[in-house]
């Protein structure tokens, strides 16, 4: 049966609301082969897998283009259950395990072996009792196939992350139909040794005739186990590699190299800039932000520069800004202008002249139901007590409506915010204009240091350029130090002076923005750091 074609995709594409995220993807996967799928965040990997797995989100947004064949028959799954029926198993990045259950219980979840009893006649199959012995046997068998060290009676809540990952994979193996296994970043949470065990298990499974699609950011692993490697970039298959005939560098450059469109360009003047003394020092910062844990970050940011923080999603780059601003539990030392910044107190950094533009524009950044003017002055009013005027001889202070209106009008004009008037509710504005209001809100504080997180997320190309130009101009005119956090490397490279890349909650390296993008790509993929301190949960 070796060499028999299991999965073929022909011209698969997808767009969400006119926004193309995937186009014309073609590949074939043979039985017992491992296919490596690599690409940056947003390259279309998840969308491709969602299509394959029949996730409801695909149907709800108008289906997909192209054809998928399994065993030469065209398939189109309307739900994950149909995909499971056809033998497609998927292990997601987020664990889908019941915490209070044992490994064995989770492996057989909703497919438990049961025993008959008389009450079944009256009340149906769900009153069958569980056959614990058989469940255990099945779990042991699956674990044995995986060839990992996992105790079937161990409770999931007490497991290290690696064991949870193994439990999930064991569940897919226990399903007898499984012929195609999709592993989405399975090694991201594993220690080196665990990852090595998993890679070995994968090869063993492939030897048993199960085909695997392996998604990973760790290129070395991909090179080690895969039979074919596909690189996705901006929704297209840019290259197909065979591992014997390639190396890390060429894969990395295929992943990150891209043409720049509609973004602001660097000028000679930018390159000649020199930065001042150190204004912000961060030492051993940890931040407990869910999904963006920062483990140990050390940084020095110079006065007047635009400092970029990049890295893949979930590696902790967002946590740095949010941690310093006191939004999540954090620890370590942060010094601003020679003074210590108290952590876990959102008021402290703001009163010291640090402002932030949140990545969560609609959640944290704006009061959606309130007018533009209020949004712009709200933080300033709270933090600096401006836009207030005393009445009753200073007993009470009320909002100074005239000053607020003036301020709002000023920023509407300066940032070219498209709106009816300063009294319009923010919820009615487009994403780009909402982002400008977030910027105006931060500018109104007249900060000495400004954190800007994902300023161009979810806004169109034209607005992106305006937002970036605004930031650059504000920096040039007022000498404000800006720390910009973004997932889009090219965007960072276009306006920053230096860029730090965060990987697994630590700074993997800091490079001048003029370095070629491959260098940054390698940092993101964790290739430069030699020793990695491991974390066990």
């Amino acid at each position: 049966m070796e060499g028999h074609e299991l999965l073929r995709m022909e011209g698969v594409g997808k767009s969400y609301f006119g926004n193309r995220v995937l186009s014309n993807v073609n590949f074939t996967l043979k039985k017992g082969q491992i296919l490596g799928l690599v690409g940056e965040n947003g390259a279309g990997k998840s969308t491709l897998m969602n299509i394959l797995f029949g996730m409801p989100v695909i149907q709800e947004t108008g289906g997909y283009e192209g054809k998928i064949f399994i065993d030469g028959n065209e398939v189109s799954f309307a739900s994950p259950f149909e995909a499971l029926e056809a033998g497609v198993g998927m292990v997601h990045q987020e664990f889908s395990l019941i915490p209070g259950f044992t490994a064995a219980e989770n492996i057989v979840l909703n497919r438990e072996s049961t025993k008959y009893n008389i009450l079944v006649e009256a009340f149906g199959d769900r009153l069958k009792t569980l056959d614990r012995r058989k469940i255990r046997q099945r779990a042991e068998k699956a674990i044995e196939t995986l060839n990992v060290d996992l105790h079937p009676d161990m409770s999931v809540s007490e497991m290290p992350v690696g064991h949870k990952q193994f439990t999930e994979i064991a569940r897919e193996i226990d399903k007898e139909r499984t012929r195609l296994l999709v592993l989405d970043e399975p090694t991201a949470v594993l220690t080196e040794t665990e990852a090595a065990i998993l890679l070995k298990s994968m090869k063993k499974l492939a030897g048993l005739g199960i085909s695997i699609i392996f998604i990973s950011h760790r290129l070395q692993e991909i090179l080690d186990v895969c039979d074919t490697i596909i690189v996705l970039r901006d929704g297209e298959v840019v290259r197909e590699f065979e591992p014997e005939k390639t190396d890390l560098m060429s894969i990395a450059s295929a992943m990150v190299g891209r043409s720049i469109q509609g973004q602001s360009r660097r000028t000679q003047e930018d390159a000649d800039r020199t930065s001042g003394d150190v204004v912000l020092t961060v030492e051993h910062l940890w931040v407990d932000m869910p999904g963006e844990t920062v483990r140990d970050v050390n940084l020095e940011i110079h006065r007047g520069e635009i400092f970029g923080i990049g890295g893949l999603a979930g590696q902790g780059k967002l946590g740095i800004g949010n941690g310093i601003m006191g939004l999540y539990a954090s620890g370590g030392t942060v010094t601003f202008d020679g003074r210590n910044v108290p952590l876990n107190d959102p008021m402290a950094p703001m009163s010291m002249g640090i402002a932030a533009v949140s990545e969560d524009r609609r959640g944290v950044g704006l009061l959606l139901e309130e007018p533009i003017s209020w949004n712009i002055i709200f933080t300033t009013l709270q933090v600096q007590n401006r836009y207030l005027r005393p009445i009753l001889g200073g007993l009470v202070r009320i909002r100074d409506a005239a000053a607020i209106r003036e301020c709002a009008k000023h920023y509407i004009q300066a940032l070219e915010i498209k709106c009816v008037s300063e009294r319009q509710r923010v919820v009615e504005l487009s994403g780009g204009n909402q982002q400008k209001i977030c910027l105006a809100k931060a500018f109104a504080l007249e900060p000495k240091l400004l954190f800007v997180a994902e300023p161009t997320r979810g806004i169109d190309v034209g607005a992106k350029k305006v937002v970036l130009d605004t930031l650059r101009e504000y920096n040039r005119k007022n000498g404000t130090t800006i720390v910009m956090i973004s997932s889009e490397l090219e965007e960072l490279r276009s306006i920053c002076d230096r860029i730090a890349i965060v990987d697994e909650g630590r700074v993997a390296g800091i490079l001048p923005a003029t370095e070629p993008s491959t260098e940054f790509g390698l940092l993101m993929l964790g290739k430069v750091e030699k020793t990695r301190e491991r974390v066990t949960a």
Binding site: P80, S96, I98, L109, N110, L127, T129, G332
Partner: protein, 365 residues
């Protein structure tokens, strides 16, 4: 992960804070009350027989992650309607009790199903929803019993009906079935009467719960209780499972209320069910259960500790301050207070545990 002894002790104290407080209070109050040991033991045995079934009916929704089923009062109401009918028809003894159960079962199933459907629309806020639902159904119950009975639903026995000709009287005399289950089969040990038949029923119920948790349905309920999304993604019918758990709980609460009232012998037509819910939930929490976790030992420990306080505190208050009213006040204070404490402790504890789980993610700094 290893914890120090200190951490373990504080973990234990947090886990069992409520029962520990009650044990300490009892140690303090029992000598003050001047009750004899024999009297207290007899009281506790009687109250165990009377209340355990009601409290046990709360376990299954907790297993399914729906918290404390304040909606159990719906079941209690169904049981009371059954009792009104058999009293009117003058069916006595154990037959009467069984008939009351048979009459009220379909009603309890319907109410439970309704409650379950509503709670599915209020996921994450089951407790407050079922609590208010209890108040709402209390209104419907009053409407039916106060105006429907004797008007639309014929009631022959004039002793049951208010003098105006319709509506059930405030107090319904259940002399016909009084102690019929308790006395079916009982014996004396050292002067203490043990209602063995009732305990047999309770024992059978405990076995049922243990068996039930080993069925596929029980396993599904535990899964749904811990993570609805994961359960849903593996194909477990989440909503249906939740409805079933509430239906079972409501029907059992209905039986529990019938057992409770056969022991009391009179029924406070418009209040009995309200107290049933409040006291059962308070007992369970006193026994060390939480909103997400409750076991059979929690039930018995809780019933004993809660009712010990109940019996002892008025007398202790009387001898201590010369005011029996104080004990009465204490009862009410305790039953509401313990529910409030348990709810606060629960979210506080969950917060602590999350923090503890996340601590490992932090750096060495």
């Amino acid at each position: 992960m290893k914890y120090t002894l200190r951490e373990q002790i504080s973990h234990f104290l947090v886990q069992y804070a409520v029962p520990i407080i009650f044990v300490l209070l009892s140690v303090f109050a029992i000598p003050l009350s001047r009750f004899s040991t024999q009297y207290l033991v007899q009281e506790m045995v009687a109250r165990l027989a009377r209340d355990s079934f009601l409290v046990l009916s709360l376990l299954i929704p907790i297993m399914a992650g729906m918290g404390l089923n304040f909606g159990m009062v719906l079941g209690a109401m169904a049981g009371e309607i059954g009792l009104i009918f058999i009293t009117d028809w003058n069916v006595m003894g154990i037959q009467g009790m069984l008939l009351a159960m048979i009459i009220s079962t379909p009603l309890a199933i319907f109410l439970g199903w309704m409650c379950g459907v509503i709670l599915n629309k209020a996921k994450g806020r089951e407790m407050v929803t079922s609590f208010i639902l209890g108040f709402f159904m209390n209104g419907v119950y009053q409407l039916v019993v106060l105006y429907g009975f004797g008007n639309i639903i014929p009631i022959k026995n004039p002793a049951l009906v208010l003098s105006r000709g319709f509506g059930i009287r405030n107090v319904t005399n259940l002399a016909g079935i009084r102690h019929c289950l308790d006395d079916l089969f009982s014996f004396n040990v050292m002067g203490i009467t043990i209602p063995a038949a009732t305990f047999l029923v309770i024992g059978a119920f405990c076995l049922f719960i243990t068996w039930f948790s080993r069925t596929k349905l029980g396993q599904d309920m535990r899964a749904v209780g811990q993570d609805q999304e994961v359960s849903d993604s593996t194909g477990i019918p989440v909503e249906r499972t939740r409805i079933i758990s509430i239906v079972i709980s409501t029907v059992l609460a209905c039986y529990g209320q019938i057992i409770f009232l056969q022991n009391i012998g009179t029924m406070n037509t418009y209040n009995s069910h309200e107290q049933a819910g409040m006291f059962a939930i308070a007992s369970l929490l006193v026994g060390g259960a939480s909103v997400s976790r409750a076991t059979i030992p929690n039930v018995f420990l809780g019933v004993i500790l809660f009712h010990l306080m109940f019996v002892v505190s008025p007398m202790a208050g009387k001898y201590l301050i010369g005011e029996a009213q104080l004990g009465e006040f204490f009862r009410v204070f305790v039953s509401y207070g313990v529910i409030a404490i348990a709810l606060v402790l629960y979210s506080w504890r969950r917060h602590k545990e999350r923090e503890r789980a996340r601590r490992s993610l932090r750096g060495a700094a």
